[in-house]
Amino acid sequence: MSTDVVVTGIGVTAPTGLSVKEYWDATLAGTAGIGPLAGYDTTGYSARLAGQITGFDAREHLPGRLLPQTDRVTRLALLAAERALDDARADIAELGTYACGVVTSNATGGFEYSHREMQRLWAQGPEHVSVYQCFAWFYAVNTGQISIRHGMRGPGGVIVAEQAGGLDAIGQARRTIAHGRGRLMLTGGVESSFDPWGWVSHLASGTVSTRTDPTAAYLPFDRRANGYVPGEGGALLVLEDAEAARRRTGRRPYGRITGYAATFDPAPGTERPPGLRRAIELALADAGVEPDGVDLVVADAAGVAELDAREADALRAVFGPFGVPVCAPKTMVGRLMAGGGPLDVVCALLALRDGVIPPAVHVTDVVEDYRIDLVRDRPRPCPLSTALVLARGAGGFNSAVVVERVP
């Protein structure tokens, strides 16, 4: 893809911060946002730890009119969208309302809202269900509400691919700009579904950590790996054509999105290998980057031994043993479903900007056979120009994005 696509704005809603600075400061400090799931009694649930966003009061951030019709996930997405567009100093009317679009990913929809309305349905009857339930539940609603609020009527879309979807959205937004169909695309993903009904749906994966010690629950690549901790939030990014963005803003962008690929795993029981390695190789080819040109990999970091081993296999196959620094910022926030990939892209962009790799926390005993260079305990300063971000979604999704520093 020849068009140079850059990131000109970022909005973050993470368990470790509701702004880019808060999130990045916490990430470099190794501050984790994982703790006991709050809001209701979790006695009796098999897992009780989550990466929760605290201190978010939607009334402080959104007009009253948007509250009756939005779930928590959409409120977070609307905040991230507003922050990203502000950060990019984007004037949608000036850019052209049909030249600006929104592509987001979301995997679970508006669970809390639906939970409440389903209770009304059963307890009081169908005429008591809010009319807004018709869209508030929907995983497409973030894209819709953002595009309506900001008048972004250009190419829009929604991608669902569990944990991998957020990177797919970025790939789709980049393609839209490269094909000249949009001047400015807002993209990424935000997830939140921690009401009791949503929570049990997370637990149904069977791979959520049941440990109760927040420092021992989510330990990707560690000998003690025992599952993951779900997190909420995510990130939205503003993408633009590099030259157009330079003329518009006169500023240096956060970085370039230079490669993207997605693959799908073969059906279980077949002889063919998992698709992650192919996703990495295709994304690097798309970026025109050789493996030795990659300075950092932000890992999917499943926290499940078998999946960690597969990811380590793919990294060794492409980069060689200990061939590239690997970072796992998810250890601080948990796995954010569709929000996870975009938040990791933000992490990669900021790492490139500042020349420092944030540490994985809590991981102390990396499985030797993996032979990966996992950055742990403290940030590692080093010159960085190219990073690869990986995400896998349950069911066979593999996605990879290459980001590069703008000199």
């Binding site: 009253g64 009119r65 948007l66 509250l67 009756p68 005429e127 008591h128 009319v131």
Partner: protein
């Protein structure tokens, strides 16, 4: 008997925009569209009128009631419905 204040109160709650209630009589003849109330707000409002005041406005009727005055005239003058 449904009052304008009662109607505006419900519209405000259903839309999440409570400011319009302060405008009182001024809004009587303004179209819901102009007040920023879309068809979903009106559907939600008709559901609440039913729950709170036992007032039944069928969906195809509420669609044609364009102003607060039209709603009040419809619900307060039942004899004129036919």
């Amino acid at each position: 008997m449904l009052s304008l204040d009662q109607l505006l109160q419900i519209l405000g709650e259903c839309s999440g925009d409570e400011q319009v209630t302060a405008q009182g009589e001024d809004v009587l003849d303004r179209e819901f569209d102009a007040l920023g109330y879309d068809s979903l707000v009106l559907l939600e409002t008709s559901a609440q009128l039913k729950h709170r005041h036992d007032i039944d406005i069928p969906e195809d009727v509420i669609r044609d009631l364009k102003t607060p005055r039209a709603v009040l005239e419809y619900v307060n003058v039942p004899a004129s419905r036919d």
